[in-house]
C-alpha cells in the first residue's frame, strides 16, 4: 500500500513536470521568454544535473569528490567530437558523453576510492585539473583556443535529461543499493561488517554520478557555442560542490533548490565574476554560521511538506521541484 502511494506521488510529479515542460516550450517558441532567460533556464537545468549527480557521490555515498568538472569536461569534449568531428546526431552525442565520463569514472574511481577524506578530495581535485590540462594540450580538440560547437541544446533535451537524472538517482537512492551507499557514508567499517561490498558501491556511485555529469557536459557544450579548457577548472568543481553543500548533504531536493537559487544569483552577477566568487564565499560563510546542515539538512522537501512519519518518500519530489 505504501509503495502504491509512492507510485501515485511519482506519477503526479511526472505529470506536473510534463505540463511545466510543455508550458515552457510554448513560452520559448512564442517568444515570451527572451534568449537571456532561456539561457539562464538552460544553465539552471545543467547545474541541476551536475548538482544531483554530485549529490549521489558526496551526499549519499559520502565520498568527498571535488573533481566533478573533470567529468563535465570529458562529457563536453566527447559530445563535441561526436557532433562536430564525426557528424553524429545530438542524442548519440549525449549518450556518448555520458558513457565516456562513466568510463573515466571507473578508471579514476577504482584507485582513488581506496582513499578516504582529505586524500580522496586531493586525488579527485587532481583528476579534474589533469583533465583540464589534457584538453588544453590536445590539438585535435582545439587546445587552448577551444572548440566551436554548434548550438543543438534545446529545451526538450534539457528537461528530459534533468528528469531522467533525477528519476534514476532518486530510484537508485530509494532502494537497497542506495541504502548500501548510505551505510558507507554513515560508517564504512560497519557497512563492511554488514556484508556491503563498499568498494563496489563507491565505484558504482562514482560511475552513475560521472555518467550524468557527462550528460550535463554534452548539454553545456552544445549550449555555449564554444568550449575551452579553462571553463572546466577547479572553480567549476567548487561551484558544483557548493550546490550540494548549500542544499544540504544528503538531500536531493536541497541540491536542486541550491542549484536553482545559486545559478540565478550568479547569472545576474555574471558581469562581475570577481564579485560573484565573493558572494559565493559570503553565502557559504553565512550558511555555515546559521545553517551548517545546509538548506534542507539531510531531509527531502516532502518531509517538510508532509511531516509524515515515512520521511524517505522525498525522492520523487526532486522531480516536482524542478517544476517549481
Amino acid at each position: 500500500m505504501k509503495s502504491g502511494k509512492h507510485l501515485k506521488g511519482f506519477w503526479l510529479s511526472i505529470v506536473l513536470a510534463v505540463i511545466f515542460s510543455v508550458v515552457v516550450q510554448f513560452l520559448i517558441s512564442g517568444g515570451t521568454l527572451n534568449p537571456f532567460y532561456v539561457n539562464t533556464l538552460f544553465s539552471i537545468c545543467i547545474n541541476i544535473i551536475l548538482a544531483v549527480s554530485l549529490h549521489l557521490i558526496i551526499g549519499i555515498t559520502g565520498q568527498f569528490s571535488i573533481g566533478h568538472a573533470g567529468f563535465l569536461a570529458i562529457g563536453a569534449y566527447a559530445s563535441a567530437i561526436m557532433t562536430m568531428k564525426l557528424g553524429l546526431p545530438f542524442p548519440a552525442a549525449i549518450l556518448a558523453a555520458g558513457i565516456a565520463a562513466a568510463a573515466a569514472g571507473v578508471i579514476i574511481g577504482i584507485p582513488t576510492l581506496r582513499l578516504r577524506g582529505d586524500y580522496l578530495a586531493i586525488a579527485t581535485l587532481g583528476f579534474g585539473e589533469i583533465m583540464r590540462i589534457v584538453f588544453l594540450n590536445i590539438e585535435y580538440v582545439g587546445g587552448a583556443s577551444g572548440m566551436t560547437v554548434s548550438h543543438l541544446t534545446t529545451w526538450p533535451w534539457v528537461i528530459t535529461c534533468v528528469l531522467i537524472t533525477i528519476i534514476v538517482i532518486a530510484n537508485f537512492t530509494n532502494s537497497t543499493h542506495g541504502r548500501a551507499c548510505l551505510s558507507i557514508r554513515e560508517n564504512e567499517i560497519a557497512a563492511d561488517a554488514m556484508g556491503i561490498n563498499t568498494t563496489y558501491y563507491k565505484v558504482m556511485a562514482f560511475i552513475i554520478g560521472a555518467f550524468f555529469a557527462g550528460v550535463a557536459g554534452a548539454l553545456h557544450a552544445h549550449n555555449f557555442y564554444i568550449i575551452q579548457p579553462p571553463n572546466f577548472g577547479f572553480l567549476k568543481s567548487f561551484d558544483i560542490l557548493i550546490f550540494v553543500v548549500i542544499g544540504g548533504l544528503g538531500s536531493m531536493s536541497g541540491s536542486v533548490i541550491a542549484a536553482i537559487l545559486l545559478t540565478i544569483i550568479s547569472t545576474f552577477l555574471s558581469n562581475y565574476p570577481e564579485v560573484r566568487m565573493i558572494i559565493y564565499s559570503l553565502v557559504l560563510v553565512v550558511m555555515m554560521l546559521f545553517r551548517p546542515q545546509g538548506l534542507l539538512g539531510t531531509k527531502e522537501i516532502t518531509a517538510f511538506l508532509k511531516m509524515g512519519k515515512s520521511a524517505k518518500g522525498g525522492s520523487k519530489d526532486g522531480g516536482k521541484h524542478t517544476v517549481a
Binding site: 542506495g178 560508517n187 563492511d192 554488514m194 556484508g195 556491503i196 544528503g250
Partner: protein, 259 residues
C-alpha cells in the same frame, strides 16, 4: 561427533604492526553452538583479535578457518557473507538512518533485485524491497524495537542502541556472532536484560557466540568456556570455575604478588 570440524578454528594466528606484536600465536577452537568468552586486561589485543577474525586486519602469521574454509585475505564483506557477524565496542550504527533501515542494510547481501531493476522500478524491485521490509520488521519485533522503526538510530537510548546493533549483526544471518563488549556502559539491570537476550538469540538462531566482556558477572554467568588474552597471547582457557582460580589470570588482572 569427533569427525566434526569445529565451526571456527584459529591456528597460531597473530598480527604484527611494525615491531609490535599485537596478537601472536593464538590457538582457539569453537564448536557449533558454544558460547565462549574472551577476556583480558585493557590493551590485551581482544578487539584486534576480532578484527583478525572479521578481515579488518589480515593476520601476519597463522590461519583462521570457518567450517574448514580458510578466511585469510578475504575482504570483510566476504567474511560476513561466509557467516561471521559482529558488533563493535564503540557502537557503530548507521546513526542518521532509521532503525528499520539499519536492519535492512544487513539484509542487503540477500537482495535479489539488481541495480538495474531498482533504477527502472521493475516488479522485482518492489517484491524484493517489500520482502526485505517485512523481514526486517518481523525481526525487530523479536528485539522489541518495532515501536521505534522510523526513529533515527542516533535518537535511541543507549541500551536500545546496543540491542539494535546486535539485531543488525544477527540480521546478516551469521553462523558465528562476535560481540565486542556488549554490556559496556550498561547498568546492572540492562546487563541482566542483555544476558537474557543473549541466551534467547542463541537458542532461537542456533548460534555460536564469541564474546568480549569486562563485566565478569556476565562472562562467568553465561559463558561455557573462557579464553584469556594478555599482551597478545593466550594465557589460559577453561571453564569459568577454572579461570576464576587460575593464578596466571589473577596475575594478569591484579599484578604479581609481592613476595
Amino acid at each position: 561427533m569427533a569427525a566434526n570440524t569445529p565451526l571456527l578454528k584459529v591456528d597460531h594466528a597473530g598480527i604484527q604492526f611494525g615491531g609490535l606484536k599485537a596478537v601472536s600465536d593464538v590457538n582457539l577452537e569453537l564448536q557449533k553452538g558454544e558460547l565462549v568468552g574472551l577476556i583480558g586486561p585493557n590493551g590485551a589485543g581482544k578487539t584486534t583479535f576480532f578484527n583478525l577474525l572479521t578481515g579488518v586486519y589480515v593476520p601476519t602469521e597463522g590461519s583462521i578457518s570457518l567450517e574448514g574454509d580458510k578466511l585469510r585475505g578475504l575482504a570483510p564483506h566476504k567474511i560476513t557473507k561466509k557467516g561471521i557477524s559482529r558488533t563493535f565496542q564503540n557502537i557503530r550504527l548507521f546513526s542518521d538512518l532509521t532503525v528499520l533501515d539499519n536492519v535492512k542494510i544487513a539484509y542487503h547481501s540477500l537482495a535479489k533485485h539488481s541495480i538495474f531493476s531498482s533504477i527502472f522500478r521493475l516488479p522485482s524491485h518492489f517484491s524484493g524491497e517489500r520482502e526485505m521490509e517485512e523481514k526486517a520488521i518481523e525481526f525487530l519485533k523479536i528485539f522489541k524495537l518495532d515501536d521505534v522503526l522510523y526513529e533515527q538510530a542516533r535518537n535511541l537510548p543507549y541500551g536500545q542502541q546496543r540491542r539494535l546493533e546486535i539485531a543488525r549483526a544477527l540480521a546478516a544471518s551469521p553462523k558465528l556472532l562476535l560481540l565486542d563488549e556488549p554490556a559496556a556502559g550498561m547498568n546492572p539491570q540492562e546487563t541482566e536484560e542483555l544476558m537474557n537476550l543473549i541466551g534467547l538469540i542463541r537458542e532461537q538462531f542456533n548460534l555460536t557466540i564469541l564474546l568480549i566482556e569486562h563485566d565478569m558477572n556476565l562472562v562467568m554467568g553465561v559463558c561455557e568456556r573462557i579464553y584469556v588474552l594478555d599482551h597478545g597471547q593466550l594465557i589460559a582457557q577453561g571453564t569459568p570455575e577454572q579461570i576464576r582460580n587460575n593464578p596466571k589470570v589473577i596475575e594478569a588482572y591484579l599484578g604479581e604478588e609481592v613476595s
